[in-house]
Symmetry: C2
Subunit: 138 residues, 2 copies
Amino acid sequence: MLSKKTKYGLKALTFIARQEGEDPVQVGEIAQNERIPQKFLESILLTLRKAGILGSKKGKHGGYYLRKEPSAILMTEVMRVLEGPIAMVPCVSLNYYEKCDDCPDENACSVHKLMIEVRDSTLNVFRNTTLEDLSKEN
Amino acid sequence: MLSKKTKYGLKALTFIARQEGEDPVQVGEIAQNERIPQKFLESILLTLRKAGILGSKKGKHGGYYLRKEPSAILMTEVMRVLEGPIAMVPCVSLNYYEKCDDCPDENACSVHKLMIEVRDSTLNVFRNTTLEDLSKEN
DNA sequence: TGTAATTCCTATTAAACTGATAGGATTAAT
DNA sequence: ATTAATCCTATCAGTTTAATAGGAATTACA
């Protein structure tokens, strides 16, 4: 399941991308338009900022803005920040690899084989989708 | 993340498939060989039986066996039984569709678009993988 | 210089889910 | 009968998720 955190985060990024060129976008405005609990959204945008995807301006008239062009923001990056590893199993993760304690031989493991395929096909989608793609109306 | 339930279930099915042609395979044997907590595995195999993937024989010399050829058991079926919907979001699920309460227009939703692509690519893997594929010694 | 508006940070919470265990009922072979 | 297996229900501790609360820090601007 996709967590609400990720869902909200993606919606917020899309919202900001659609405003681009103007002033920073405020959490309150996003929350209202996308029907996201504001306090929850605050913490999500903070995460995206710490990950370097968003920048922020504090104080009155503050808000959030993209650090890169929407076309330069890949879903691989966003999903890893919000949802964590893309692989469904650590023993198949590119960025967060971990050996299974049970499995004696990874290459003989049927789950391992299957999960590599799932990872690759999902990765293929995320690598070929940018925030710009998400932001297109239609 | 793939649940342990699914991971254990897949390993167990693979184990049974590799024995095929002989007597029913006992939970204890699978548990030992695959290092799975036996009681937990019992409940998993029960689920697979109720879903029609496994058959069982009770009492002494009892155990579990496949109801179909390994080559006829698709990962779509197995994964749905063990892990639930393949889609990461209900509004994109083929078999368990549910509307989002927040989203006013599904077709305008950026998350929706992305998750359809992920679903399709994952589905593509599961539709083209059978238990026979998993069971091949590499 | 003060006030309002905003991000930033930490802590807490209720509910759900996960992984596992416990105990015994039921069934079948010998 | 006895033994060995599946079947079934309940329970539990731990983790995660989604959300809330409260206020500190920062900035615009009158």
